[in-house]
């Protein structure tokens, strides 16, 4: 068990154990806080309560089987995890994914971003005492989850992206549902803003709190909205485009104040940008076309072909019994998940199972900055700062 050595050694301080069962830690984060009155003088985060050994499990699964494990890391953005993993394996294989599948991937990951930011906004607001925002946010998130259910059959652990493309063709008319949700969203985001942006309590709980300079944030490897709120416009979708993001027009919102309020405004702006990207993707997705790469032996054959073609039957059998073997080597792919830079590192030794699968989870790395954000601040700000980093403990501990 982690203990804290008191920093000052003075009789004035006390050690407070926050978590792992504490609603504002968004899961099972434990922080040992040394307090001088109400002021934090030392903070030691203690992780691992949700460690499930996903990386070790990946090593005993075939490349296709491991997809279902990736959903369970960041359970608020499962499709982003699917995407990072699939892109890494596709890079290893040298597979080209059809444009139609790429656009659908972009559309769904942007909806994931909106959904994830909505959960963040709702829970962050409830932490700071604004109850009603939570209810509105979850109302809209439900609509987005309905779209995921429509295309994949699952609301959360979709495993919809597969190596080389998608699991199945989206049902006819699905874009109509997307259109309905997307049409309503900007107005709904305006509603949240009327509740919070000028709200005096919200401003006094978030403005000037949790400051970190852009330089310090880069040195601590912070990425995502937290880094962009510190004035650094680093976004993997712009810097290292993947899945045809270079064909989309969108802004990367940045701010320079780098406090909890700035991070709130960044995420609100990002939701609006995501709506724009979803709109563009809807216009780009061709009505017809393949959703999987043409790679026999790696991509499962179509059901009809299996009934008429010998090769298809053999490939189907081989893919689901022994899997496929990428060439030896490693691939590291980073994408912009709602929380920041999500990296997938896959090393292959030429066998059907990965030699090593590693996920660079943005929550884990960003959480490292927490002690810096809350040092010398009252304990109430700790709640605001945990919320503003936007961690998902499933991804921190993996």
């Amino acid at each position: 068990m982690t203990t804290v050595e008191t920093a000052t050694g003075a009789a004035q301080t006390m050690v407070l154990n926050m978590g792992p069962q504490h609603p504002s830690t968004h899961g099972v984060l434990r922080i040992l806080l040394e307090l001088d009155g109400e002021i934090v003088v030392k903070a030691v985060p203690d992780l691992g309560y949700l460690h499930t050994g996903i990386e070790k499990s990946c090593e005993s699964k075939t490349y296709s089987q491991a997809i279902t494990l990736t959903d369970r890391m960041d359970y608020l953005a499962p499709l982003s995890n699917n995407l990072a993993y699939c892109l890494a394996v596709e890079k290893l294989l040298g597979l080209e994914v059809p444009k139609r599948a790429q656009y659908i991937r972009v559309l769904l990951t942007e909806l994931t971003r909106i959904g994830s930011h909505l959960v963040w906004l709702g829970t962050h607001a409830i932490d700071l005492g604004a109850m009603s925002v939570f209810l509105y946010c979850f109302r809209e998130r439900e609509e987005i989850l309905n779209i995921f259910e429509l295309v994949s059959g699952q609301r959360m652990m979709t495993s919809y992206f597969r190596i080389g493309g998608l699991a199945l063709d989206p049902p006819g008319g699905w874009l109509g549902h997307v259109e309905r949700v997307i049409k309503a969203l900007p107005g709904r985001i305006d509603e949240y803003e009327t509740l919070l942006t000028q709200n005096r309590i919200w401003i006094s709980r978030t403005k000037g709190i949790g400051y970190i300079s852009g330089e310090d944030a880069i040195a601590l490897s912070m990425t995502g909205p937290t880094l962009r709120a510190a004035g650094v416009g680093y976004d993997n979708r712009k810097h290292f485009p993947y899945s045809s993001y270079e064909e989309f027009e969108f802004e990367v919102p940045t701010r320079s104040d780098s406090d909890c309020y700035a991070r709130y405004l960044i995420r609100i702006a990002e939701m609006r940008e995501s709506v724009k990207i979803v709109r563009q993707a809807m216009g780009k997705i061709p009505a017809e076309g393949p959703i999987r790469a043409d790679a026999p032996g790696i991509i499962p054959p179509q059901r009809e072909k299996m009934k008429t073609e010998m090769e298809a039957l053999i490939y189907h059998f081989k893919i689901f019994t022994e899997g496929f073997s990428p060439p030896p080597g490693e691939a590291y792919v980073t994408i912009e998940s709602p929380r920041g830079e999500l990296g997938a590192f896959i090393a292959s030794d030429g066998s059907p199972k990965p030699l090593r699968a590693h996920f660079r989870s943005p929550s884990f790395v960003n959480l490292q900055a927490l002690p810096k954000l809350i040092m010398g601040r009252p304990i109430a700000d700790v709640i605001a700062c945990i919320g503003t980093i936007d961690i998902v403990l499933g991804e921190v501990d993996r």
């Binding site: 460690h51 005993s60 490897s221 290292f240 691939a331 590291y332 590192f345 090393a347 884990f364």
Partner: protein, 159 residues
């Protein structure tokens, strides 16, 4: 899949060789990703050079990943994934170390953000980092026996 724009093997290896001819043990490229193997003794200095050099500007340490090649020696390879935000470039720096006494110099003095990444590698692989300010287990309990991501640690049935 998009190739990383602006990757230039010659620039990075050239700069590193100029700085110290012994720093580049080997260079390889696979699927557009450059890997430079550096001797463990020069690792920390090479990382500091990549970060500080005006022509390279690898200012972000994206990740540290360890791979266990058991039973091949040197057994562990530790990969440092660097990103240059201004130059939009990526690089992998790799150090190979033996399984007998796996120690590397800590990169925490170059990037404070290496702290938890190195603790994770230490926790799951048992690779130690000399000069790390707080080298404790991070994901597993403090009294855990063994390092689970090593290849000789079974998926189940060990304890």
């Amino acid at each position: 899949m998009t190739e990383i724009a602006g990757q230039d093997t010659t620039l990075v290896t050239g700069r590193l060789r100029e700085w110290n001819a012994a720093a580049v043990e080997s260079v390889s490229e696979f699927r557009g990703e450059i890997t430079i193997v550096v001797p463990p003794s020069l690792l920390r200095a090479a990382l500091a050079f990549c970060r500080g050099d005006a022509a390279l500007q690898f200012n972000l340490l994206s990740d540290i990943v360890c791979v266990d090649h058991f039973p091949i020696e040197p057994r562990f390879e530790v990969n440092y994934h660097l990103t240059s935000i201004p130059r939009r470039d990526k690089l992998r720096i790799r150090a190979r170390i033996s399984g007998d006494d796996p120690v590397l110099d800590s990169a925490t003095s170059v990037w404070p953000g290496a702290n938890w990444m190195e603790r994770e590698v230490f926790d799951l692989f048992g690779v130690r980092f000399a000069g790390h300010p707080d080298l404790r287990r991070i994901l597993l309990p403090d009294d855990w026996q063994g390092h689970p991501l090593r290849k000789d640690y079974p998926v189940e049935g060990y304890r």
